[in-house]
């Protein structure tokens, strides 16, 4: 019984991915099946349409900068929260984790209203800010877990061998947290790359990949997006590969 449900669930989850892959090779501009001949024209179209490439570069940039900023902020925050006891510690922990439970429309609209009403800040900055806020919980949670499981004696040993506290952390502790930081960064990168709802509030005339795809789906009905979707499967495939090889899949899904 549970085996049957499991198979059906997996099939249900994979059906959209399988369907897009099948359709992407259609020769005709329809979503029909069985297809009338095979073709790679939609793949060619992905590269012919400038908005996908523009959106992809924008998304990569956002995800990269947001994730890098979040790694730095999260590492410092995790050190403070794990290594020190101070007033406001649990409040701080709750605050950096809170974006995960704030509805995206709330965050997106709040920043939109704030930026234009209060600061009159250029829009590009607002997106970087949003994406950094969005991904911090995923990284900070991972680094806190890493620091809590870390043997502090290693850092002490380094200090007693003559390393300053900063060097001991940099040369001994940080390399030990490498896997946790990597796992957090990968999840964060993908969350940022795929973010749609909050991002929609702050994209102006420069689309991200999801917003470009969304516009395309709304205006065109041909399998170009299916071809793009098939190409983009490389991303989760490489996540699974990296997760299985080095980081552990359990950790990737936040457990």
């Amino acid at each position: 019984m549970s085996r049957l449900v499991s198979v059906l669930v997996i099939l249900f989850l994979f059906a959209p991915l399988i369907a897009t892959t099948l359709i992407s090779f259609n020769a005709t501009p329809t979503f029909g099946f069985p297809s009338q001949g095979l073709s790679l024209r939609w793949y060619a179209n992905v590269f012919a349409r400038p908005e996908f490439w523009v959106g992809f570069r924008h998304s990569l940039l956002l995800a990269t900068l947001g994730t890098l900023a979040a790694i730095v902020i999260s590492t410092l925050t995790a050190v403070a929260v794990v290594r020190f006891r101070f007033p406001g510690r649990s409040l701080m922990n709750a605050l950096v984790m809170s974006p995960i439970v704030i509805p995206e429309v709330v965050l997106g609209l709040a920043i939109l209203v704030w930026i234009y009403a209060v600061l009159d800040m250029p829009g590009a900055w607002a997106l970087y800010l949003l994406h950094t806020i969005l991904v911090i919980p995923y990284i900070v949670r991972m680094i806190i877990a890493g620091l809590q499981g870390y043997d502090i004696n290693l850092e002490h040993a380094a200090m007693l061998l003559g390393a300053s506290p900063f060097r001991a952390f940099l040369l001994i502790t940080l390399p030990s947290l490498k896997d946790h930081i990597m796992a957090g960064a990968i999840v964060a990168f993908i969350v940022s790359l795929h973010n749609f709802t909050a991002t929609m509030f702050l994209v102006l005339n420069r689309p991200t990949l999801p917003t470009a795809v969304y516009q395309y789906i709304r205006t065109e009905t041909d399998p170009t997006v299916a071809a793009l979707s098939t190409l983009l499967l490389l991303i989760p495939l490489s996540v699974v590969a990296v997760g299985r090889r080095w980081l552990g899949l359990d950790r990737m899904v936040g457990r």
Binding site: N153, H156, A157, M159, L160, L161, G162, L171, P175
Partner: protein, 373 residues
């Protein structure tokens, strides 16, 4: 002028909130001396070690290395080597890289690293293992690497936290011997922490027995064994049975007690006690000797009548579990080769020299602090 490697701690106190982890801790060590901090877990011995290396801030008191006050010197400037209980080898670095780490961060030129690393690896007989990672080594090998790593930077003082506790029993015996040789060979001032009295006695020049954050007794292994200054120390060293009695007479250092069955014993009065008060009479298992059957008459001073309740063979020795005056249990360890065997149920006499009988104030509740004898 105190020399390099000498240590003086005075009035050291460590508090965590309202909990006092270490109180009025005072200790002076000469250069090259090996001292063991001995006590049960939670007695403050590890806190003392962390205070010496600077990982633990002091609430009060002073720590001097030679003629330098160390209170505000951070750990990385103290020139103290430490071997952690779990060795704390850097898992992502090879043995050689572990050792070279200290050299690198303390500014030793890179071209000298290989020579020095080889030197200390040879010292601990691990020359072949330079390229291995810590997880590829056995517990004993990891410990040697940890020691090599600590001494590579030529510290003034070496600290060891429970150096042998992570090893299994057989390896522990062997490493205890090797560690003794190694520490004597290096000649470095060493403080180590242990809860194992055998380890403390075997390795140390001097043993500091601690309880409840304070020093209870400090002296050479022989002195502490011969004359524990309190029931706490005697109990901790173990292998001792107690009888109850009343102090009849006290002279300097010795006293005479009247046991509950009317027997008189003379022994070392290790704690001051009033005439006519009750005292605990400590009898070391190994110092008691069978002295014939009980029916043989008085048997002289220092002899008492007991009943054999159990006989346990322990290889070269035989252990008798006896019932003494007042129904108290007494144990006696005798070499198997000497003396006649006694059977369960036999009434026999046992005796001990006055030097081996220790008179304590009765243990009423936990002993708070070490009072002078």
């Amino acid at each position: 002028m105190p020399g390099r490697g000498s240590i003086r701690l005075s009035g050291v106190e460590v508090r965590y909130g309202s909990v006092v982890a270490l109180r009025d801790f005072g200790l002076e060590m000469a250069s090259g001396e090996i001292v063991a901090l001995l006590g049960p877990s939670g007695c403050g011995k590890s806190t003392a070690l962390r205070a010496i290396c600077g990982l633990q801030a002091l609430s009060a008191g002073e720590i001097w290395f030679g003629d330098r006050l160390m209170n505000t010197v951070p750990p990385h400037h103290r020139k103290v080597g430490m071997v952690f209980q779990n060795y704390a080898l850097f898992p992502h670095r090879t043995v050689a890289e572990n050792i070279a780490f200290g050299l690198a961060v303390s500014g030793v030129p890179r071209r000298q690293h290989a020579a020095r690393t080889g030197e200390v690896l040879a010292l601990v007989q691990m020359t072949e293992r330079g390229g291995h990672y810590p997880h590829q080594l056995s517990g004993g090998q990891q410990q040697r690497v940890a020691i090599a790593r600590s001494v590579a930077v030529s510290p003034d003082i070496l600290l060891l936290d429970e150096p042998l506790s992570a090893l299994d029993k057989q390896l522990r015996e062997q490493m205890r011997h090797e560690l003794t040789q190694l520490l004597r060979g290096i000649g470095i001032t060493t403080v180590f922490v242990t809860h194992d009295q055998e380890e403390a006695f075997a390795l140390a020049d001097r043993v500091v027995v601690m309880h409840d954050g304070a020093i209870v007794q400090c002296g050479t292994p022989a002195a502490i064994y011969a004359r524990p200054n309190s029931r706490f120390v005697a109990d901790f060293l173990g292998s001792i049975s107690y009888l109850g009695g009343v102090l009849e007479r006290a002279e300097t250092g010795t006293g005479t007690v009247l046991l509950d069955d009317g027997t008189r014993l003379r022994g070392q009065l290790v704690e001051a006690a009033g005439i006519g008060t009750r005292v605990d009479v400590g009898l070391r298992w190994s110092s008691l000797r069978p002295a014939g059957a009980a029916g043989d008459g008085g048997g002289g001073e220092g002899s008492l009548a007991v009943t054999v309740r159990e006989r346990v063979h322990r290889g070269d020795r035989v252990e008798y579990r006896l019932e003494g005056p007042g129904g108290r249990a007494i144990r006696l360890l005798a070499l198997t080769a000497t003396g006649a065997a006694h059977d369960v149920g036999d009434r026999i006499r046992v005796r001990a020299d006055a030097n081996d009988i220790l008179l304590f104030r009765p243990a009423t509740g936990p002993i708070r602090e070490g009072e002078p004898a």
